[in-house]
């Protein structure tokens, strides 16, 4: 409870709070991982490609890594296009 909250006028658009929230989430990620995060994603991608290639032929372009950093949790989405796994089709 803010003692002075009654003094403050209600603001029409409270975008400052949005700015603060966005920064807090982003900086929490940046501080905790430092430079580590920037480097683990390319390595992770390389390892995934290598692992999949043991079973199916895929190109480097066929792996798509997406990230959504959240407040409580982040999600990592990895899409792999498996050409060979589709039902038999005439090659193009």
């Amino acid at each position: 409870m803010n003692l002075f909250s009654f003094v403050r006028k209600p603001r029409p658009t409270q975008t400052a709070q949005t700015a603060k929230d966005r920064l807090q989430i982003l900086l929490a990620h940046e501080r905790s991982s430092g430079t580590a995060e920037a480097d683990y994603l390319p390595m992770l991608q390389r390892d995934i490609i290598a692992a999949i290639r043991k079973y199916v032929p895929i190109g480097e372009q066929d792996v798509d890594v997406r990230m959504e950093r959240g407040d409580q949790m982040s999600s990592l989405e990895i899409n792999i296009e498996l050409h060979g796994a589709a039902p038999p089709r005439k090659p193009v």
């Binding site: 658009t13 949005t18 940046e30 390319p42 792996v63 997406r66 959504e68």
Partner: protein, 282 residues
């Protein structure tokens, strides 16, 4: 994937947003111009050249989704397609973020050239958000440009730096070095313009600035509260609620695409007489 009919070849035009002086509004303008172009249906990508000081992602509101960056692509750690972030609001808008951990030396002419060549094959406009200064980062951002938007504030050091940058554009770029090539088309975008202060003689006028720089005017963006608000929420100002600034950016974008738009200088809406009287009384 349904209605993506193959249309004509992309325009593939590279536009650098540059200034020399820092903090004049390059990133704000890069975000607004790229979103404005995409809004008009042009397939557009905006690249952050400010290596080590990533900020465009915040202004575009995609900071939580950065996986790979420009430098990863240059160094072969990721494919271009994997580093491009698709905007959630506009189908035609993409962002190529920069590295937060490397420095400007990671930019190589060959690397930049190759990425731009790939982008030119797919995009109508490639907007390059230059870092401040006239060193390596800024030079890399302008080197392959077809057009330049020189962001200038009506203030002495900004105008002086813009003049420096105009000099570099006409000497230290690919087009300048290529025999017979058409020079970079450079235009001034005057930002943070405050009509009230111009009227009171405190601030240089549009004419004053143009007389000194002697290049065409792309637009005049007023000093506006809408800019801070848009950056707070991570929305390019032209995608936010209409404001004097968003209208001015939309006009500038239309001029960039070759449409004739009358130059109008708008300020933030002046308070009405009633409000002014009320304010004075309180």
């Amino acid at each position: 994937m349904t209605t993506e009919a193959k249309k004509d070849a992309p325009l593939g035009r590279v536009i650098v947003i540059t200034s020399g002086k820092g903090g004049v509004g390059k990133t704000t303008s890069s975000a607004a111009i790229s979103a404005g172009l995409a809004k008009q249906g042009f397939k557009t990508v905006v690249i952050d050249f400010d290596v080590g000081l990533r900020n465009l992602d915040m202004i575009m509101g995609c900071e939580r989704r950065v996986v790979f960056d420009f430098i990863n692509v240059i160094q072969g750690d990721a494919k271009l397609k994997q580093a491009l972030i698709k905007d959630k609001r506009l189908e035609t808008l993409f962002i190529l973020p920069t590295s937060q951990t490397r420095d400007k030396d990671a930019l190589t002419k060959e690397g930049v050239e190759q990425i731009l060549a790939e982008l030119k094959a797919e995009f109508d406009y490639i907007v390059c958000d230059s870092p401040a200064g006239i060193e390596r980062g800024a030079q890399m951002a302008m080197y392959y440009a077809d057009e330049a938007v020189v962001v200038t504030n009506p203030e002495v050091s900004s105008v002086r730096d813009s003049d420096r940058v105009l000099g570099l554009l006409s000497s230290q770029t690919k087009r300048a070095e290529t025999e017979g090539a058409e020079p970079i088309k450079a235009q001034v975008l005057l930002t943070r313009y405050d009509q009230a202060r111009v009227d009171s003689g405190e601030m240089m006028t549009v004419e004053d600035v143009l007389e000194i720089l002697a290049v065409p005017l792309l637009g005049v963006i007023p000093e506006s509260k809408a800019i801070l608000k848009a950056s707070n929420v991570g929305t390019p100002v032209v995608l936010d609620e209409p404001s004097a600034a968003s209208r001015a950016y939309e006009d500038a974008v239309s001029r960039l695409t070759g449409t004739q738009v009358e130059m109008r200088i708008q300020g933030e809406r002046r308070p009405g007489l009633f409000q002014r009287l009320f304010k004075r009384a309180s």
